[in-house]
Amino acid sequence: MNLLEISKLSLRIGAFEALKGVDLSVNVGEIRALVGESGSGKSMTALSIMKLLPTGARTEGQIRFDGKDLLATSEADMCRLRGNEIGMVFQEPMTALNPVKTIGEQVAEGIRLHTGATRAIAEEQTRAILDRVGLPSAKFPLSRYPHELSGGQRQRVVIAIACALKPRLLIADEPTTALDVVLQAQILELLQSLVDEERMGLLLISHDLAVVADMAHSITVLRHGEVMDNGETAQILTEQTHPYTRQLARASMHVPERSPEHPHHAANNGPLLAIRDLSRTYPGRRIGLFGRDPEFTAVDNVSFDIKPGQSTALVGRSGCGKSTLARMVLALDRPTSGQIHFAGRRIDELTQNDLRPVRQNMQVVFQDPYGSFNPRHKAERLVSEPLFLIDRELSAKEKRDRVDRALERVGIPRADKDKYSHEFSGGQRQRLAIARAIITEPKLIVADEPVSALDVSIRAQILDLFADLNDRLGIAYLFITHDLAVARAITDTVMVMSEGKIVEHGKTDEILLHPRSEAGRALVKASPDLHKALARRIGEQG
């Protein structure tokens, strides 16, 4: 008998059918991946098991945990199971912990609830589990509050809460999606070892096939609430008999076609963007009337060039200074020292007014397109927003033509001009963001994690679009990302950033194959890679 056995699980929320007859099982000691794109019903499956669905949700079918039908179990009995026999880890570590309670309280709470242990004993156990997840109490006392920890550390606390009582089933819902690749590798390794030690069953929910290929024994692929494919990891991913699995696998390894010789490179001799000895320091926190913490150097003496039409990746872990550097390039932040030259002109000392013509040639695409659109404006107005940067006054017709052309270039039908941003899908919204960036016909686009919030198939399309615009319009890119797959797919050169410095700079292929710096090696090693993971898995199985 399997530890968890879901059969014909259907879920309706109002009129929406979230799950349609899902079958799924997890064995003792097994890692089962549940893979699918957003809206496929992955999280809903997990919440069905926990019986923590939103109000108004109606379930049908069976969820058997250790032989017991959970759907028929009372709420009081579910409370006894949750956190005790079934633990759950969530996607967003930054918000998953109560900000007004110490980490010690939050871990001990579940222990005391289920075991009735005294405060002292619960604290002892809390210390032990926090130590196990890599937060030794000598460095991370129980009296710490969540805001005093980083994202990766918080996720460790969440895992400690879930695993404190050695549950038999652990559900991890995208546990590393919000973390950078190095942290992701650490957290996955931790989950793996916890599962191995205690022979837990793990239901690992992920959109990332590469992560799953590395971790899971078996895979269930979900789409629109239905199981598409199901079986052993190596078999499913190597044979790819199901068309949807094949589509997912291809999309996640997708590399856009780019013309090898960029005609734009040769056209111009000077660099488009030249950064010289750029630094940005922040004053330390005030700790008394006169005292201050030492100042913090976010960007430390950075120099590099980007040629016209060149696509450059800036990679590094979270907190390495990537975004600060990007903000200075975009003239949203002033450097403490150093110079920024754009198209032969020094821009770091210009006033906002003088920057306007510069901004016309330099646009930005953000990670979350939804957050960067005014929800009350229609697509036409959203896309035409940067047109005020253009020196001369445009006629209404010229504006319309420009919007039409930009939309056409990113593949959005003209008829959609009158829609609001919430009427577009995630991928279309990112297309809109790109349309807004290219409407002034810029020479450089700075893109901050532009595809990391997108599903793999949409991500592949957007990468194609970036490649295409680079080919056709000769736009240079500065891609800020922690995802080496993106860098590999779309850039000519890579800069590795670490602790405010650029520690490595060179051709993309070379650096990603043979990183020389320590930070580069750490990134490459931690990056999930579908090919490598499969090769390893097949090798293990003989």
Partner: protein, 315 residues
């Protein structure tokens, strides 16, 4: 922390100073000469001038401002034009009524509103929730003087449990004084409780949508335990904000209720002082209220830090 408090106190003092200037100038601008008002319409010009001189009203503006401020600093609020007694005595007399009244009302409001808010939030969308919030809505809407009259009719006139109005003074005994404050406190406190209950409910519902509530549920905590252990403390900030505002209102904004119950409170004192152009009394009371509001705000801010560790000075 100490640093923060001393900074806040300094800002408080500057605010008080600014308030004193505004109050003084405002009362200079409003029409109506205190001396003429005191002597009546038929008084001779000479008599008015003599009185003005006696009251110091003929002095230049700055001189009068500084002598007033200088007095305040040493606890001398001046002498009332109409009552001819020190303003400070008037104020302390009235505060002996207004402060207990405000505190009892606030206490009532809190002990009713927070349980009701919790009750409603725990039953979101049910009949019990909409029923409770419907009653709260009525509580917000009905005028408190009407409610006060209703209370008087039921509890004083019909049931004869408590006096209908007036205040015998604390010298008449603690219980006698308290008894005469019961109805006014209810009349003031219940509408405040209705507001606070609605705020509590919506703050709790906001918090209940947070990710960490789901984490707590996944730990095995029941809905009720999550509400008390995790949601309530996170919902306290908006609740404390409203409580601070309510206290300031209850201390001086209660003039109608004071009139209904014939209570000699601060509200009536200010009202009478304004109609009689007893400017020095108005100035004194307003300064006291400003100081109270500043103090309450400081306390509210400090309690924020008590509730939420993210707001504590990380020293």
């Amino acid at each position: 922390m100490l640093n923060y408090i001393s900074k806040r106190v300094l800002i408080g003092i500057l605010t008080l100073l600014a308030a004193s200037i505004v109050v003084f100038i405002m009362l200079e601008i409003v029409p109506g000469d205190p001396a003429r008002l005191m002597l009546g319409m038929n008084a001779t010009e000479d008599a008015v001038q003599a009185l003005q001189q006696q009251m110091g009203l003929d002095q230049p503006l700055l001189t009068r401002y500084f002598s007033w401020i200088g007095g305040l600093l040493v606890g001398d609020f001046g002498k009332s034009y109409t009552y001819s007694v020190p303003v400070l005595n008037l104020i302390t007399e009235r505060i002996a009524v207004s402060l207990p009244l405000a505190l009892i009302s606030l206490f009532l409001s809190t002990i009713i509103a927070i349980p009701v808010g919790l009750f409603s939030a725990a039953r979101r969308g049910t009949l019990a929730d909409s029923g409770t919030m419907g009653i709260a809505q009525i509580g917000v809407a009905i005028p408190n003087f009407w409610f006060a009259l209703l209370l008087v009719y039921v509890f004083a006139v019909t049931l004869r449990l408590v006096p209908a109005g007036g205040f015998p003074g604390w010298n008449a005994g603690l219980w006698a004084g308290f008894k005469s404050l019961i109805l006014p406190s209810i009349a003031l406190g219940l509408p405040q409780a209705a507001i606070l209950a609605r705020v509590t409910r919506s703050a709790l519902l906001d918090v209940l949508g947070e990710d960490y509530i789901r984490t707590a549920r996944a730990k095995g905590l029941s809905r009720r335990k999550v509400l008390y252990r995790h949601a309530l403390r996170n919902a306290l900030i908006p609740i404390l904000t409203i409580l601070g505002l309510q206290f300031a209102f209850l201390l001086a904004g209660t003039i109608i209720i004071e009139n209904v119950f014939y209570l000699p409170g601060l509200g009536r004192l200010v009202f009478q002082a304004i109609t009689q152009r007893d400017l020095i009394v108005v100035e004194g009371v307003v300064m006291l209220l400003v100081a109270t509001v500043i103090l309450v705000n400081l306390l509210v801010d400090l309690s924020y830090a008590l509730v939420d560790p993210r707001l504590r000075g990380r020293s």
